[in-house]
Subunit: 202 residues, 2 copies
DNA sequence: CCGGTTACAGTGCGGTCGCATTGTAAACGC
DNA sequence: GCGTTTACAATGCGACCGCACTGTAACCGG
């Protein structure tokens, strides 16, 4: 009975308008009217798909986080490598790539960070990687150490935690133009080298 | 000839009102009227001391950053220790203390981070520690390594960079209630232990 | 005691915002 | 074809915002 349209496509278009606006002028420039203009639709349509401004921004953040996570998984899959160390590097490097799309997402994430400080709902969306991610990364660390001829130290979960903290911090720095992606990657590699310990048997 | 008042005290009062407002409801809740109310003064006074809203928020951020830096220096001075390792820990721990005042400052900093993504002036105020800080920290690292019986590795500046990246990242996590100050401190200590290498001579 | 400067207080204006409301056209079951 | 439901489009409203402007009281060198 209803008019039939692709809702998902509509929402995605609106969310991308939000990203674009926030990328240009900060999240405070995101208003119903501007989102409508940017997406080339009417204000009524925006309201039809999102009951409130908050809901729109929240969904935009949710999708941005999903997209970044997808980038990480793609990096893992694309590396196609079974070498745990290469896999680990691929994961972490995904947060500091110079790719345009990634930059936009990270910058929106940083803009949203500010709101997260006073909006628990957004804070939850931006929360650090979950337990599974830490467990997975810790596993990679343990394997990589073994491959280098060392033995696991039992601190792999802590080390994994540090890995992601460092990587996200560097990602933020890149989004704010405090660092270049290259230098960030170098820093990250230096840390990985250190945390894996020296090669013992070639 | 003019009416004589303590300008510095006035500005400080206004800036603290900005901090308080941003702490409660995010930086977008900071308006001229609310700042005036919070500080218990008239809107005219706010305008008298700051030509625009932007100028007010910028000064608030500037002072917040100065205050955090002062906290770090105080931590160094308070430790009163000549032991380089203890000094290093004191510095870094200053970013993850559970102290109320520090929490407020960090939270305001995070709120401002969002704006920094699109406001270069604010971005500059929030820029990572300058070269002097890195040099100082690298020096501490080198000395601490020597005290442990190891020799400097020539990577002290990179390691110092990682130290501060990690510490600020943990500080942000604390501000957003993603971590407790205690767990952050533990993580930081674990990293320091690792970066200094094992004790060789007791 | 007077003139000039400073330090406010108060008010008003133009603009924008989120959101509610209302109108309308398309799609389909019957 | 008719009624109902969905998917918008358009407009209007009340709230609030930054800022400019105006008035005034305090202070002080002369």
């Amino acid at each position: 009975m209803p008019k039939v349209v692709d809702h998902e496509e509509r929402r995605k278009r609106l969310v991308e308008a939000v990203w674009a606006l926030a990328f240009r002028g900060g999240i405070e420039q995101v208003t119903l009217r501007k989102v409508a203009d940017e997406a080339g639709v009417s204000m009524g349509q925006v309201q039809h798909y999102y009951p409130s401004m908050q809901a729109l921004v929240r969904d935009a953040l949710d999708r941005a986080v999903q997209a970044v996570n997808a980038n990480i998984e793609n990096a893992v899959r694309a590396s196609g490598d079974t070498n745990p160390e290469a896999l680990l590097r691929a994961c972490l490097h995904a947060l500091v790539t110079p790719a345009e799309e990634s930059l936009r997402l990270m910058r929106f994430g940083v803009a949203a960070l500010g709101r997260a400080a006073s909006d628990p709902t957004m804070a939850r969306l931006l929360a650090p990687g979950d337990d599974d991610l830490i467990t997975f990364t810790a596993g990679l660390l343990a394997e990589a150490r073994r491959e280098r001829g060392g033995e696991p130290r039992g601190t792999e979960r802590i080390d994994a935690d540090i890995c992601w903290s460092l990587a996200t911090s560097l990602g933020v720095d890149i989004a704010l133009d405090y660092r270049s992606p290259d230098s960030a990657k170098a820093l990250l590699d230096h840390y990985i080298e250190q945390v894996l310990g020296p090669e013992r048997r070639p």
